[in-house]
């Protein structure tokens, strides 16, 4: 291994601003999360949702009762929330934890980007994956129906809006949650288990409590119930939950944001320890 003569006389190199540096981190994070597991689950989501929506809508329109609420079918099965949870975990559990584990986080922090740029890039990647899994399938289904001429333009359009609204809120909340849990540890395993454990136990626990005590405000504590009530409202379906969809939506967005800020605060406390 001989040393090549130092042709290292680099021309002066122009630099791009913070925005493009952040985009570089986003691009890398987005691509490196496209593992087999994630792609498999996302593909599953596309196939399942498209089949359900197209089948139901076709059947309903034949019987002349096609309306926006027909498109709400996929949200009835618990699978929908599980898909979002798995994709958020696959894309988010390791996003910061792996950088802390490999200590490559020092390479980011010693470069000309703020901690906020680093985190927003990570958030961008997680959010995008969730949107791909949550909004994409619905839009594809509506597209197919429109192409087949099933359902009027207004129905398809408002159904599409429904999928987008629900997907965006899911992305806002689960991105914040994934970032917060991922920046707490240097092992993706613990962040992943915490994601599943928290969301599922909140969902079940809240159901039991409100079932017995009858007080429904506790329902807001479960992100899954909030999302479901938003979905119902978006598709004009009278749902089983007495919660107000607007406050559910606000809660999801606000709590998601707070969790992201918590991730920022937590990481800025972890002083890059010296000796």
């Amino acid at each position: 291994m001989s040393i090549s003569s130092p042709r290292y006389t680099a021309p002066s190199v122009e630099r791009l601003g913070r925005a493009s540096r952040t985009l570089a981190v986003l691009r890398h994070e987005l691509l490196s999360r496209a593992g087999l597991g994630t792609l498999l689950v996302v593909a599953l989501a596309y196939i399942a949702v498209t089949l359900i929506v197209v089948f139901d809508a076709d059947f309903a329109s034949a019987a002349g009762q096609l309306s926006v609420s027909t498109y709400e079918a996929p949200f009835q099965s618990p699978l929908w929330a599980l898909v979002i949870l798995i994709v958020a975990t696959a894309a988010g559990a390791g996003s910061v934890a792996e950088d802390r584990g490999s200590r490559s986080i020092v390479l980011y922090l010693s470069r000309p980007i703020h901690l906020s740029d680093y985190l927003s890039a990570k958030a961008g990647s997680i959010g995008s994956w969730i949107l791909i899994a949550a909004v994409g399938p619905g839009l594809v289904a509506v597209g197919i129906l429109a192409a087949l001429g099933v359902g009027s333009a207004t129905v398809n359009l408002s159904a599409a809006a429904g999928f987008v609204a629900t997907g965006v809120l899911a992305a806002l909340f689960f991105t914040g949650l994934a970032l917060a849990l991922s920046s707490l540890t240097d092992r993706a395993l613990y962040a992943g288990v915490a994601m599943f454990g928290l969301v599922l136990s909140l969902d079940i626990g809240v159901g039991v409590v409100s079932g017995i005590t009858g007080n429904s405000t506790v329902l807001y504590a479960s992100p899954v119930t909030d999302l479901t009530s938003v979905a119902e409202a978006a598709f004009h379906v009278a749902g089983p939950y007495p919660t107000d969809p607007v406050s559910s939506a606000v809660l999801l967005a606000v709590v998601g944001g707070l969790l992201a800020v918590a991730a920022y605060w937590q990481l800025s406390q972890v002083e890059v320890v010296g000796e």
Binding site: I86, T185, R187, L189, V193, L200, V209, I212, T213
Partner: protein
């Protein structure tokens, strides 16, 4: 043989202390308290005594067993070998005169002890909270069965996740998918499919004692013996298989250090 027993006790003590420490212990303890907090929340709504105690009872099959126990065992057992192999610290155990299967048994029992330290309170405290808050007291059979089922669950999942961590680099993904998809969805399917999940046998054991609540519709076609043998069998088989695997496993990284 006494030498090997000493070595086993030392390994158990090492794994037990190594499992419950630092932020992991705090996180899991918080998690183990979730069922009790939920019962407390219910109690604050002053429901009827009977419904308070029956809800606390049902909470075990609905939440504690499938989610809380699962999380505790996933965190404590998958990492037992996976963390050590990744961090290359297993060599400090495997280059000693202790037999390799003893290492597996030691780590299993050590991590199981730590897990039970969280699982049993997570099972019993909710019942205590319900009773203290005025719920009708439980016949001894209820807490006894629940504790037995919780221990059995820990033994089964603990062994399986330990084995997963030993043999696979992506033990996390497999453990998560098994714990929260396989064990959650298969029981919903018709026919014999649910028999392939551990939780089916755990729930059938529970239904011998608790016929109300979520288990009321449960058709107990499985014998008492089978519903104990299956989970226990999974745990024991995983440990035995793990012992054999570690006996022939190369425990050093597959690369030259230089």
């Amino acid at each position: 043989m006494s030498g090997e027993l000493n070595r086993l006790l030392a390994l158990i003590w090492l794994s037990f202390r190594g499992s419950l420490r630092g932020s992991r212990a705090v996180g899991l303890t918080g998690f183990a308290l979730v069922p009790s907090l939920i019962v407390a929340a219910i109690a604050s709504g002053h429901p009827a005594a009977a419904s308070l105690s029956s809800t606390a009872e049902n909470l075990f099959a609905l939440l504690t067993l499938p989610i809380v126990v699962m999380v505790i065992l996933l965190v404590l057992s998958v990492g037992q070998f996976r963390n050590e192999i990744d961090a290359e610290t297993l060599v400090y155990l495997s280059d000693r005169s202790v037999a390799r299967p003893t290492i597996v048994v030691g780590k299993y029992l050590g991590s199981l002890g730590a897990a039970l330290g969280l699982v049993i309170p997570a099972t019993l405290i909710p019942l205590a909270v319900a009773t203290l808050a005025g719920g009708t007291p439980y016949p001894i059979g209820v807490p006894a069965t629940m504790t037995a089922v919780a221990v059995l669950a820990a033994a089964a999942y603990g062994g399986f996740f330990l084995f997963l961590g030993l043999v696979s680099r992506s033990a996390l993904l497999i453990g998560l998918l098994f714990g929260f998809l396989w064990e959650e969805l298969l029981p919903l399917l018709p026919g014999d499919v649910p028999r392939f999940t551990v939780i089916f046998y755990l729930r059938s054991l529970l239904s011998w004692e608790l016929s109300t609540g979520p288990l009321s519709h449960f058709s107990t076609v499985v014998s008492f013996g089978a519903s104990v043998a299956a989970p226990l069998g999974l745990g024991v088989a995983s440990v035995v298989l793990g012992g054999i695997v570690l006996r022939y496993l190369e425990t050093a990284p597959e690369r030259e250090a230089g």
